[in-house]
Point group: C2
Chain length 155, copies 2
Amino acid sequence: MKLTTKGRYAVLALTEIALSEDKNLIKISEIAKSQNISSTYLEQILSNLKRNGFVKAVRGPNGGYKLALKAEDIIMSDVIELIEGKIETKGCSQKHISCTGISGKCLNHDLWDELGKQINLFLSHISLKDILEGNILGRSRAPILPQDCDNMTIN
Amino acid sequence: MKLTTKGRYAVLALTEIALSEDKNLIKISEIAKSQNISSTYLEQILSNLKRNGFVKAVRGPNGGYKLALKAEDIIMSDVIELIEGKIETKGCSQKHISCTGISGKCLNHDLWDELGKQINLFLSHISLKDILEGNILGRSRAPILPQDCDNMTIN
DNA sequence: TATTTCTTGACAAAACTAGTCAAGAATTAT
DNA sequence: ATAATTCTTGACTAGTTTTGTCAAGAAATA
């Protein structure tokens, strides 16, 4: 599990691209200047977003980037997974051996699995449109209490 | 935001220590062997947990570690924050300058702030006791929908 | 045809992770 | 007291990852 500048720059760039939709195209250099990011570093990130269908590029004079999808269809969990890789955590250090501690059972996998699920669940409910509209604050939620679990199906 | 082996080893070690509570003390070498972790590396982690009041150490023959708190009072958000540092993410790359993009407003801070909040909220509801009892799976929750936010107070 | 802009891949400094190692301090058993 | 055991602390290090830079090239347009 990690979140580096690369993931943040990706969202930042998408936001800037979306905000320029009226002008149709925005250049890497414009995003880089506006956000104080190295433009050569941004190239890598945008190139990746392009290869995976989030944005489209136009070369040549007056070229630049635009969104390839509608803002509401650009989901943060997809973007972050593309740029940062899958959010996954192993609960114990066993690599090939089956994972059993003194207890005879690894009690830790569940924690990290569920945390990963929680992060993904959160990000999968947030689109670029939500960001543009400032619809983010106050959305996090406490987990379900154990006593509540009994009568529930697990997703 | 990050989660490394150090954080996972910490939880793993706490679990092993808790499971040995009947024997009262467990040695670093026992945990290391049982979980296939370098014992010299574990030393650093347990030393840190000790300095911060999560476990107690007894030196000398038949020495070892035990919990300094009840399992239900060892909260995962505290443990992870101690070992990994604060879960915090900056939404943009501006360092000293006030954070304004083309939009005149940074639309990204909210996303990372809220994600950090979500992670902390999740981990703050999970104690070592929950882990020992296997009470973790199925606890993650979808975020609150934007339209639901209007009538709610933000925590 | 020249200029602009994206494209790709190689390269590299700095920071971080995941350890190792060694000297020492405290405790207990003998 | 002494030896053995166990934790304590801090310095050190190899390897990986992050965060970039750089250069050569391809596509589009004026």
